[in-house]
């Protein structure tokens, strides 16, 4: 049987830059970190609230808080409830 003239493109070449990103870790592990992630979220939020608006640490902490919020939301936990 001859080789098909047309075949689906290799997924790598549909988005090579995405496929070049290293593969690390597993999202299935996230659930086991729920308690510590939630604790870090609460800790960061409290620290952030204790800082004045001019504090240079604020932007960095806001970035970390946003990351933790996204993870908790993905875990179907609303951190603000």
């Amino acid at each position: 049987m001859s080789k098909p003239k047309f075949s689906a493109p290799d997924p790598f070449f549909l988005d090579p830059l995405l496929h070049l990103l290293p593969v690390r870790g597993s999202i299935s592990k996230l659930e086991s970190y729920t308690a510590s992630i939630f604790a870090k979220y609460e800790q960061t939020k409290a620290l952030l609230e204790s800082l004045d608006s001019e504090n240079q640490a604020r932007p960095k902490m806001e970035v970390e808080l946003a990351m933790l919020r996204q993870i908790l939301e993905w875990l179907k936990l609303n951190p603000e409830s």
Binding site: D10, F12, F13, P16, L17, L18, H19, L20, L21, P22, V23, R24, G25, S26, I27, K29, L30, Y33, S36, I37, K40, Q43, T44, L47, L48, L51, A57, K60, M61, V63, E64, A66, M67, L68, R69, Q70, I71, W74
Partner: protein, 145 residues
């Protein structure tokens, strides 16, 4: 450590100490999965957070570069890729990212240098066949400029 020493540290430094390598790997896995499923907003928030919490974790810098390339923000993308290379100087993926972006911004001289480095590394390093093909495509872009 004394209470006074703890008080002297900036709050974000205290926080960084709380993440294990496994946690960072899992955060990154969720960010990469978010890219695969088209949720760039979530991916960006996660990649930014990881680069803040673990600046030496080069895959997150590359992920952030990917988000910026998608938005055609090439200057910030180059910054992120250079940060990835600072953390992992021999990363073939990071060099290919940089060469690809530099070819898009028509910085052919620097792109050629990085493609040369990738070529040298590929002679001694075993990589996925698709990575090698992608390198050859970028080399062809460079040669046909």
């Amino acid at each position: 450590m004394t209470d006074e020493a703890v008080r002297r540290r900036r709050p974000s430094e205290i926080l960084k100490r709380g993440y294990s390598d496994q946690e960072i790997d899992s955060f990154y896995a969720l960010a990469r999965f978010s890219l695969e499923t088209g949720n760039l907003r979530r991916a960006e928030a996660l990649f930014r957070g990881i680069t803040e919490a673990a600046p030496e974790y080069y895959p997150a810098w590359l992920g952030l570069a990917y988000v910026q390339i998608e938005a055609e923000d090439f200057d910030p993308a180059v910054y992120c890729i250079r940060q990835a290379l600072r953390a992992s100087p021999n990363s073939i993926e990071a060099m290919l990212y940089l060469a690809t972006v530099l070819l898009s911004t028509q910085d052919y001289g620097t792109a050629g240098s990085y493609l040369g480095e990738v070529g040298d590394l590929l002679e001694t390093t075993s990589v996925d066949v698709n990575v090698e093909k992608f390198y050859k495509i970028q080399l062809a872009r460079y040669q046909n400029r």
